[in-house]
Amino acid sequence: MVREAYHKDLHKLREEILNMGSIVGKTIGDAVLSLKNRDAQMAQKVIDMDKEIDALDHSIEENCMRLLALQQPMARDLRLIISVLKMSIDLERMGDLALEIAVITKMTASVPPIKPLIDIPRMSEICQDMLKNTMIAFENKDVELAKAVGKRDDEIDMLFDQVRRELISYMIEDPKKITGAQHLTFVARYLERIGDHITNLCENVVFMVTGERLELN
């Protein structure tokens, strides 16, 4: 009773979510890089990437549904499938947020920047690093790493507050900068949301390994 085909399918599901995680991570990085470099072409690539991410989400959902319907998974297999299903939803949303950032790049690429970007790329780097480590935690079933990554959402929240306060002061000083500052506030807000989604991913890694639902942040 080894159920080889079934276990191959479970393995494939794991690979799929890892692949989706790495694509979404790169998309977030590219979206913020396109904003920093005012690169509309790169932004368009990020926008195009969203379709691929959506397709991955659908494929994962389809595979989870098939495994649930045909294999009646239980215990750790069941928790793996439930976790992957939920992680795929979070990753898809993160892809949408990257797309929103790329849309802002396209809107602002042709106008002069209101300020050099420092904290927003920092937020992006932290998000990418958190996501990378979340996927490592998933692959290695490493609960402690997942918990540690979840805690880092505080860094993102702090940076978001800092960026927002700074941008408000720009708007007060010079009303002409309101539109530009508002765009950047949105970008920071999207990255802050991405941090929250990563925390959800970490909670699902913990659930997958331990069966416990923890609130990490």
Binding site: M74, A75, R79
Partner: protein, 252 residues
Amino acid sequence: MQNKITIKNLNAWFGAKQVLHDIDIGIEKNGITAIIGPSGCGKSTFIRCLNRMHEVVPYAKASGKVLVDDRDIYDSDIDPVEIRRRIGMVFQKPNPFPTMSIRDNVVAGLKLGGLKDKKILDTMTEESLKKAALWDEVKNDLNKSGVSLSGGQQQRLCIARALAVEPEVILFDEPCSALDPISTSKIEDLMLELKEKYTIVIVTHNMQQAARVSDHTAFFLYGKLIEFGETDQIFKKPKEKSTEDYIIGRFG
């Protein structure tokens, strides 16, 4: 949880071969307890020890305590026939008495016990068949042979026969393995109804069935009780690795 049956230090043998080792477990009153495990792990022997059916096999013996309502059924002054009336059993293959009518099958145990009053026998026939969810299907054919029924109906007839002697516990040994999915779900629905009044123990190879119907699940391996817990916990997050390996099919 209130236990109907408490098993203490139960060991069982076929000749020199020990097939159960130091089983300690409580069977909840008005609950369904499922026993799962690979073939040859001692599941069937275990439930056959609960109504002293194990000892009817030549060279088979058992030791330990099986307390039903705090009374050890292995005490020397206990009548095993009376125990088997109180703790009924339904087997893997439907086994109605082939030469008897549906009616006679249901009340066979009562007649054997000396009951002759036709009115009471008729009432018991109807009541037992109703409890076994078979009455509506057979009420106009009570004189037909029991084996004229479909497999699923025959199994419900056997359940009616077990219920007619008013047992307290019903042991099911793979009751659905010879049945189609529709008959299986009828038996499962029936078990869920019956647990209101009876205590049920079911041995099953069908993990989904154990998950669907039981309140508690026990996992047996090589004659030992490996894990016992609430069914929900066993199938979502078992504590023992071998339980997990078995239920997800990564065994051997």
